[in-house]
Symmetry: C2
Subunit: 351 residues, 2 copies
């Protein structure tokens, strides 16, 4: 198979972890006789510095014409405490999601037996957790009208949902639930928000077409609690953009394996794969960041291309590296801490 | 002292837990020579059933003329999955908050040594946690314009903040921080939302007046993570209504003592005191609900009236009941489970 993959390394530790995923994917390609052409492009603070734009048109061209996008991380602290900054790295992320139509962010949370003790939660609460949050990614308050009024003394943001946006996301949720344990939880704030009532109404109407799926409806505040209490209660969850932002991050610490959690952002034409961790600027350039989440994101990419064996080969070699302790300092536990690049080399060699 | 206290029992287990707080407060009054006049009034589903309104005008009159409001819980499952219900119990809560001007919800999270093992989190992560979330309660997306468009196919909600709303809440935050460890964390989503940028800008400007307070700014998604990872990192946090709704509930499970966490909702004229747990309809009428959160809310009430000794007497008797195992089934751990009313009687007798 010939694959054109757009490669957006981004900011902070992005370039370092992306490098390792490329090594691993190239090893897969040579083992399984595929041909990957990597198309690097600028994004985030790196793109602002180079061309004044966090998601330049040239980058969009590269992504729109690729078979998939592999993404590192973006964000730079110099923008965080400057509310007046006109151009912000995150705008690039949002523009990219919107222009590529990446409407569904797929965020699995699962445990690695060898890492369970790293979780802040007790073993019996999390062992066997295996849930997926489907976060709507191109709508809601992220993309509604916003601005200032009254001489700059009032600020507003608009949370808007259209029925088709909810249907599109919920359809993926129902389909995933059908392939898994047939349970779907719609997470909203329907006791307050009109947009949430549209979510609930839409999902209730669709549920008739999936009689085998048991659908539940929970409020986002209750879920924020229960996710920590009983993560195993959940299987497939669907939710709006802002709620998903919060809940996916909360869920990511449950497993104790945050540095290992991959994600995909699915569009109708092209999809994007990225680790869930951020740009982690403090570690940038030090060759210490854990590359496994990015490597496992590449596995999701192969999986979505129906290259199941290839995806499994990546997951296998990751498990092997964990079992043999070929890990970065965050997982080293007093044992030897390997460099980011060393872990990547080892994985590629052992494919 | 003469105290007029509005008594809103509400729905579900509300009436049962309120009864116990009344017993305890009455015992305090007779011990310390105060005179409490209780003014019961209807709210929630109970009020809808009686007069078709979740926060009737008569109830508002009672509250507005009281020295304080003691509140149980509202909400009834029969409304939850009915997006078309015109009158909803929660509307009463929101109307009450707005009409009474309860702009700051004060939500402490702390650990009880004897209950630490109940937490889903590991002991070393939570022992000594002592944080307060100040949630803005009368603004934001809860009270902005909302509705439908495009033939019912689009729904919208508006998140709006005015500078004075942020200042008023942040002022309380800074003052609390000054009395505690002088650390204040402003939680927002300033990398996306204009209203959050107004929050950050406003808090940054105010920080100049509190040079001793160390102010940090964190994104709500990051906080949703770190709260589970390292709750001890936080002291006083200030945040918008919707973020506060999610984070306060998340925080409440950390300590393992959710059934014990009180709260206050502070207004400029009158304040309201309520347990953080909900109406818990499954347990209603069974005399099994844990009344301690409501009893401790009454302690917050006395504290705010500068009746410090009285407040301490309540906290002391609660600690005694925990130490002696005079607890409801949720805390009984194989020991004897006392009824809600028995716990209340015991507390009142031991004041
Ligand atoms: C950086 C930020 C705009 C972004 C978001 O809120 O979507 C991030 O938190 C994420 O979840 O990818
Ligand atoms: C019942 C609901 C409207 C309410 C809220 O969202 O504020 C509740 O969750 C709370 O936190 O008091």
């Amino acid at each position: 198979m010939k694959l054109n993959i757009a490669l957006l390394a981004g900011d902070g530790i992005g370039p370092e972890v992306i490098d390792q995923a490329v090594k691993v994917a190239d090893a897969i390609a040579s083992k399984f006789n595929h041909e990957i052409t990597w198309k690097p492009a600028l994004t985030g603070a790196a793109a602002i510095d180079a061309v004044g734009e966090p998601y330049p048109d040239e980058t969009h061209e590269v992504c729109a014409n690729a078979d998939a996008v592999l993404f590192g991380a973006i964000g730079h602290p110099r923008f965080d405490n400057d509310p007046s900054a006109k151009v912000r790295p995150e705008q690039g992320l949002l523009k990219m999601r919107q222009k590529l139509g990446l409407f569904a962010n797929v965020r699995p949370t699962f445990t690695f037996p060898s890492l369970i003790e790293k979780s802040p939660l007790k073993r019996e609460r999390i062992e066997g957790t295996d849930l997926i949050i489907l976060r709507e990614l191109t709508g809601g308050v992220y993309f509604g009208e916003r601005g200032r009024k009254d001489d700059n003394n009032t600020a507003f943001d608009t949370m808007t949902y259209q029925r088709f946006e909810i249907e599109r996301l919920a359809k993926k949720g129902f389909e995933m639930a059908m392939k898994r344990s047939k349970r779907l939880c719609c997470v909203d704030k329907a006791n307050v928000l009109e947009s949430s009532r549209l979510w609930r109404e839409t999902v209730q109407a669709m549920a008739k077409d999936y009689p085998e799926v048991e659908v539940s409806y929970e409020f986002v505040d209750a879920v924020a609690m229960r996710l920590v209490q009983w993560p195993k209660d959940y299987d497939v969850m669907i939710t709006a953009n802002l709620f998903g932002d919060i809940l996916t991050d909360e869920a990511s610490v449950i497993s104790g394996s945050m540095g290992l959690m991959p994600s995909s952002s699915v569009g109708s034409k092209v999809s994007l794969y990225e680790p869930i961790h951020g740009s982690y600027p403090q570690a940038a350039g030090k060759d210490i960041a854990n590359p496994l989440a990015t490597v496992l994101s590449a596995a999701m990419l192969f999986e979505d291309m129906d290259l199941t064996e290839e995806a499994q080969a990546i997951r296998d070699v990751v498990n092997k590296s964990l079992a043999e302790g070929i890990v970065t300092e965050d997982l080293a536990e007093g044992g030897k801490a390997y460099k980011t690049s060393e872990v990547g080399d080892w994985l590629a060699k052992n494919i």
